[in-house]
């Protein structure tokens, strides 16, 4: 497991939580339980009526249990994306 996240350390990542929230930030550390330390964290809030809003929330320690997915954020693709016009429902929470 440590191998799987090792390649993402110090990279910008997209974190999808089981309550449906989406965060982006810099992966600073992790452990076997997939507990994670995320720096420069922004919460991305999606809405079907308004464009995406990004709220800066600083450094977070996130418990592995609440993480559904961690993706490597491709900054080029992210810059190209038009989040101001992205009007979608937030992602669904995951019922375990």
């Amino acid at each position: 497991m440590s191998d799987q996240l090792r390649s993402l350390v110090d990279h910008p990542v997209f974190v999808y939580l089981t309550d449906g929230r989406t965060l982006v930030g810099q992966l600073m550390g992790y452990d076997q339980a997939a507990n994670v330390i995320l720096g420069k964290t922004h919460e991305r809030i999606f809405s079907s009526t308004e464009g995406m809003k990004s709220v800066a929330i600083g450094v977070y320690v996130i418990r592995g249990e609440t993480i559904a997915l961690i993706g490597e954020l491709d900054e080029e693709l992210d810059d190209q994306a038009d989040y101001d016009e992205m009007k979608v429902e937030p992602l669904d929470p995951v019922i375990l």
Binding site: M1, D3, Q4, L5, L8, F14, Y16, T18, T22, A34, R44, F46, G64, E65, I67, A68, L69, I70, G71, E72, L73, D74, E75, L77, D78, A81, M86, V88, L91, D92, P93, V94, I95, L96
Partner: protein, 103 residues
């Protein structure tokens, strides 16, 4: 799971194959299987979210780590799975469980 969970032989042969992981909230992600671990955490490359118009949230994400606890299914390409081998391994596993398994 069948056989030796630590080594996950059934999944080892699938590394490099395209699979679709369906999460417990119905979100499905297709990608190339990079690795699996003992918790069935899954790493995928070149991902594409199924029904991407409904889920553009992740269009800047090309590879990801999915926590095993949120996975409902992993859809495998049928030709990649040797069902006879798995059935044999499952039968042997029932008779002689590996560490931590219940009968």
């Amino acid at each position: 799971m069948t056989g030796n969970i630590g080594g996950l032989p059934p999944f080892l042969t699938l590394v490099g194959q395209p699979v679709t992981v369906e999460l417990k909230n119905d979100l499905a992600i297709t990608g190339v299987l990079v690795s699996v671990d003992q918790f069935l955490n899954i790493k995928l490359d070149n991902i594409k979210v199924v029904d991407e118009e409904r889920y553009p949230h992740m269009l800047a994400v090309k590879n990801c780590f999915i926590r095993g606890s949120v996975v409902r299914y992993v859809q495998l390409p049928a030709p990649s799975v040797d069902t006879a081998l798995l059935q044999d391994a499952a039968r042997r596993e029932r008779q002689q469980p590996a560490t931590g398994a219940r009968k």
